[in-house]
Subunit: 351 residues, 2 copies
Amino acid sequence: MTKVHNFSAGPGILPQQAIDNSISALQNFMGTNLSLIEVSHRDKEFESVMADARRLPLEILGLGDDYDCIYLQGGASLQFCMVPYNFLNTKAAYLKTGVWAANAVKEAKFFGETLVVASSEDKNYTYIPKDYQVPTDVDYFHYTSNNTIYGTQMKSIPECSVPLFCDMSSDIFSKRIDASKFDLIYAGAQKNMGPAGATLVILKKELLDKISRKIPSMLDYRTHTSKESMYNTPPVFAVYCSLQVLKWIQETGLDTMEANNNAKQQLLYSEIDRNEFFRGTTAVEDRSWMNVTFVMNDESHTDTFLKLCKQANINGIKGHRSVGGFRASMYNALPLESVQVLVDVMKNFKP
Amino acid sequence: MTKVHNFSAGPGILPQQAIDNSISALQNFMGTNLSLIEVSHRDKEFESVMADARRLPLEILGLGDDYDCIYLQGGASLQFCMVPYNFLNTKAAYLKTGVWAANAVKEAKFFGETLVVASSEDKNYTYIPKDYQVPTDVDYFHYTSNNTIYGTQMKSIPECSVPLFCDMSSDIFSKRIDASKFDLIYAGAQKNMGPAGATLVILKKELLDKISRKIPSMLDYRTHTSKESMYNTPPVFAVYCSLQVLKWIQETGLDTMEANNNAKQQLLYSEIDRNEFFRGTTAVEDRSWMNVTFVMNDESHTDTFLKLCKQANINGIKGHRSVGGFRASMYNALPLESVQVLVDVMKNFKP
């Protein structure tokens, strides 16, 4: 099979061993002689999968028993609604750094006062706002750690005295962080930790005591934490495959993951800065390691370059329609070798 | 690999060709040289999958352009909340025939007046109530076509003059029905049409005009119909695998499916009625073709019989804890041969 260099923004590249293990489980799940997707989620085999899939994220992030970990459905988009439904009692603060952050704000408005402490919408989200204060009288402060569409990323965890919530969909497990600073973290799996169809939610258990609204069962975090993420049938395949990715992340270690991701971003951004035909689209200090956005100085060359990429078996490099140009998504599983192939195409570009 | 006779109540047995096709797509999706779960859902290949997966249910059920079909996440349990959130403006009527129907009632109460027109809770849901009237002044009438836990099933579609809503999670596509009588049908995929992680929703387009409440985006059906079920990243694997099952259902045809399911239920219920060691747990006229619940007349034999089933490679036969005894779930993909194996074990039973 031809090796494809997969820069897709999500669903994106996954470690081959996770795909292979998932295929094996579809053929014969843990010696049951049944497919993974044909067994009851109440069978002891799947219960062990769910237990491991809930334990590993906490272990990898160095979090203890004061945190819970569950798998939900509906992607980060449903979390945009569930977070304020559960925790916005009076007022919440949001940092607006892209489309997903803006969507989170939009849904929060259904549930209470929503304060945007800062926004980079004025420059099409090409930078991360820095001069802002998080008020002390809000229920929580919410931000997006990495902006998949625009290619910006938070380089440090904001300081604040209120509960800190973060949508880490596109850079979770990509580097070492002090996860204990967060009260709630969520991530759609389909970028750095698994296939589409599962959403990871990690939250401080004491946060659940702050829920005061009456909430429909499926939208209440307590429903899921109290049933160990098995209130109703979980997305079995997506959880199983995510567990295989988590095992690979744990084996690799976050320090190695970070070093690999650093090498990839250095290689690509260096070429963007060196090459007269290209330029980056974001503020240099806010450049994302996960999603590298760039354009051609002469836009009329764009299609030519896309063709050359296709010839080199590069997939998913076309930029989001709201930014144009190119976006190279370099999730954990993307090898440095694929970035080198892209850089070589850039180096050899002649109009 | 040892052939297992899979009577699991859900996730349950799926046609082997659907599993095989899903494995192939995980290895190489439509000639992309990438795995199904690594490509963007916006790529033309997956867009064609979603288009087919939305078209086939309508074709199979004989529904026209006045209906829409979408795939959501969160199972039937999230529909228990979304249905009244969107459509319960004043008052809604529910038929309470089991745990899932009761859960649907519970969630509806968050949104308005909920009228239970009849309930079989008085006899642990062992029958379907028949003498009831659906009021004419309600927003809709909701019922559950098949009660997975208790083993009862509606044998006809209730008559009513208000919009008719149905949770068909455990018997959708198991027989020919007049689907045009319904305004909204939903089904968690993991019983008769796919793996866990996708929920099919079919609704009459004109129903959407009745939404008057302000609803968070992800919980508003219009969000998903207007974006052709791609508002956010869909559960790619679950949709793909469901499409493979739908193709098999279409090839087989609902008449053949119904004849096969009829043969299976006749074989098993005949043995239950004939065999002095067993008895059914539900009213004879309400017996489910999908989930056959039965117990031993002498309960002390239960464990012995379970052991014999295990020796015969029968899986998932243990009854739900609220009913006890045994439950043989005989979804579309279960072959008659597996039912024969179970019946043989029953015939040969000696205490």
